[in-house]
Symmetry: C2
Subunit: 179 residues, 2 copies
Amino acid sequence: MNTLSYGLLSLLTKNSRSGYELMLHIQPFWSAKHSQIYPLLALLEQKGHVAYVHVPQSDKPDKKVYSITEQGKEALREWIAEPTDEPVTRDELSLKVYCIGLVDKEQARKMLAVREVYYRKKKERFGSLMDKLQQGSDKPLAQLEIGDDAFGMYVLVHKATMKVDTDLIWCEWMKEKLK
Amino acid sequence: MNTLSYGLLSLLTKNSRSGYELMLHIQPFWSAKHSQIYPLLALLEQKGHVAYVHVPQSDKPDKKVYSITEQGKEALREWIAEPTDEPVTRDELSLKVYCIGLVDKEQARKMLAVREVYYRKKKERFGSLMDKLQQGSDKPLAQLEIGDDAFGMYVLVHKATMKVDTDLIWCEWMKEKLK
DNA sequence: CTTATCTATGTCATTATTGACATATAAATA
DNA sequence: TATTTATATGTCAATAATGACATAGATAAG
């Protein structure tokens, strides 16, 4: 079973969710399109790691709401104990920046400006996520512990926020360099 | 042509390199195995974007040293002007951390400790890279400008250093949380 | 003395991932 | 009014990426 499948199981330990919702919630931490997720959910269902109920909706299309099974939880626990793969990053901008001398300052600035907008939006999204997390919590997020349900999400959003702040600092630094 | 192909061309704007060297130098910024790189180099050669000379070696296996052609440089310039893809990150640890409540504190600490070692090694590698960069430069790195040959590499290594420092700060923060 | 690592290039089957196609309704925006 | 966005699920061809296999000499570590 691939890493994304375990990722889907991980999300399902907190809430039952539709494939569409799973896609939206996993994307900040693992890039994946719906065309990859739906077939994997079908496989997980075949294997008995998840089960779903068909939920009819009047205003929106019907959906399948998936839940993790006891068997799925057991598979998850085994996966967590195994050695963890190293992170993989692929950023086209890095490759372009490497040979940035090929273009003039103006073009370079524009390239960086587009990316800065991307980072700002990302920061905003993580900010909202943190707010939503606080609203759903009965104690201040800083007091959450490993046993608390929201702990994992909290520490991940915290990390994401730290990283996007670093990206923005680099953008500012680059603007100075390209003045 | 895919992004990695352009990445290889980017590296070749600074130095002529063998496929093996290209693999080693691109990996910090774009994960790729030799089995992907060698076929792409053959394609780039077919298209006339790169050319190679066979270099016999006595102590080590022979190598093919690739150089970018004028045509390759033109392709690069066109690519840089196009919109840049958003970065893709896939980190299995994030998925595990999300459901970290499934394991006990001790196991969680060990998981994070392995990752911390990974980050420390990475930081060291980027530190060496920066040193090597300074040795090859006639002025202090902080004074490099867009026209300078080492500028792209310098700003990239700077970014990588900032990011890995952020990762390490998160690791320390997590150690506190898991005390 | 043996095993692992580094150098160096390559192929190929398998797996992972994307992008396009397909369908359908509601709401918001231009 | 027309187009885009969001909701919702799915298939399938094409592309990207990995891991295993193959070869081979040198050096380093255990």
